[in-house]
């Protein structure tokens, strides 16, 4: 006997939550957090059972629901750190977000209806550019000036560089094991080295951190010892002689 499970696809946690509330015919303002939380967690569990990837947003919402549920049970309000508040909001905030989200979901429905009405009205067909040929622009650039071009590009490039930097950090996945190997080889061929010698010409933060971790690991293994004469001074790496 074959066994089929139908999972509705929800793009985001707010959509899923709203679905439960509507299914239970519950007013958003009277949201019963404990009941909804269980449904929500069950849904995530089903997604996992079926090897569907549960996106981070869904997990944050699960944490939010649990947090709200917990704080309702605790007599004293707990002071949350700022970082926590950023991700995990209060019940009021959740209600507000659900209401705003539902408002725009409905507005999307309005647009859909408008489009349907519009599709029932057929325009006159025209070949792509019209039989009359392309439009003639007497002044295709409006009041744009040459300096506008330069400033615009400079801004675009500045934005681009910011994005590129973010990119590089993300992509730079250093394998700690490989790094340890590299450092060990370097140390083997030089009996005495400074930590800075292990870094490239322009090391990134990630480079420095991983190299330092590799060095610490080699110390733990007893391959090397470290010496530092003064605070913030250069770190000397000495090969351990058995």
């Amino acid at each position: 006997m074959s066994y089929h499970v139908h999972l509705d696809v929800f793009e985001g946690p707010l959509e899923l939550l709203l679905h439960f509330l509507e299914e239970e015919k519950l007013d958003i303002r009277d949201i019963e957090v404990s009941r909804i939380t269980q449904q929500y967690l069950d849904y995530l569990a089903t997604m996992r059972e079926h090897d569907l990837e549960v996106a981070g947003d869904f997990l944050v919402m699960a944490a939010t629901l649990l947090q709200i549920k917990a704080s309702a049970l605790l007599p004293e309000p707990r002071v949350e750190s700022e970082a926590e508040q950023e991700q995990i909001y209060s019940r009021d905030e959740l209600i507000r977000r659900l209401l705003v989200y539902r408002q725009f979901r409905e507005a999307g429905g309005y647009l859909d209806n408008l489009a349907k009405v519009r599709l029932a009205a057929w325009p006159r067909p025209f070949p792509t550019l019209g039989a009359k040929g392309p439009v003639q622009y007497t002044n295709p650039i409006g009041d744009t000036t040459v300096p506008d071009l330069a400033i615009t590009l400079a801004n675009v490039l500045a934005n681009w560089r910011t994005r590129e930097q973010v990119h590089q950090i993300k992509r730079q996945e250093i394998d700690l094991g490989v790094k340890i190997g590299e450092v060990a080889v370097l140390i083997k061929s030089h009996s005495r080295l400074l930590f800075d010698d292990l870094l490239g010409m322009q090391p990134t933060k990630t480079d420095i951190v991983y190299t330092f971790l590799a060095v610490l690991e080699l110390v733990r293994q007893g391959t090397i010892i470290l010496r530092q004469g003064e605070l913030y001074g250069p770190i000397a790496i000495i090969q351990w002689k058995e």
Binding site: P13, D112, A115, A121, N159
Partner: protein, 173 residues
């Protein structure tokens, strides 16, 4: 110019132009002022409202255009629609609604309301030219501001943004 002739010219121009024609251009074509031209267009519109006509005059996206009447749609289906615009997903519709009502709006603001990453919905809307960049926000990172396009008004049959139906009230239930 006699009203009869002026009306024939307006009719010919609107008929022969691929996009909705702004009042300003129509007025210039017949050499009338905009107020008088508008009255003449209203008269033309009334004539085509009559049920013996299969199409009528509409004011859409800041201009005038002829389109077939919705009641004609069933009879037209056997023929090929000039411009097929396939439906938008729920995600794209939500995103479009946020952009339409809150413009100019950044990606982060959209994602905050929807509670989910919206790159793919935004890209779909950009590709279909329903939304476009409207400059950058003067904030760290100078995020792109999105707004709706002229094409959006055309696709949804809106005269202008003021023509959008009011947002549903945030109310209980």
């Amino acid at each position: 110019m006699l009203p009869k002739k002026a009306k024939a010219i307006l009719e010919a121009i609107i008929f022969a132009t691929a996009k909705p024609v702004p009042l300003k251009n129509l007025a210039a074509a017949i050499g009338w002022d905009e107020t008088k031209t508008e009255l003449l267009l209203a008269e033309l519109g009334r004539e085509y409202k009559d049920e013996r006509h299969g199409f009528d005059l509409n004011f859409v996206a800041g201009g005038y255009e002829f389109t077939t009447k919705p009641a004609m749609a069933p009879y037209l289906e056997a023929f090929q629609r000039p411009e097929v615009s396939s439906g938008l997903s729920q995600a794209a519709l939500e995103t479009l609604a946020i952009v339409a009502y809150r413009q100019p709006v950044t990606r982060v603001e959209i994602e905050d309301i929807r509670g989910v990453k919206s790159d793919s919905a935004i890209n779909t809307l950009l590709e279909r030219e329903l939304i476009e960049e409207k400059g950058r926000q003067d904030a760290p990172g100078r995020p792109i501001l999105f707004g709706t396009t002229q094409r959006f008004l055309e696709c949804f049959g809106l005269a202008d943004l003021g023509d959008l139906p009011p947002l549903p009230q945030i109310s209980a239930g």
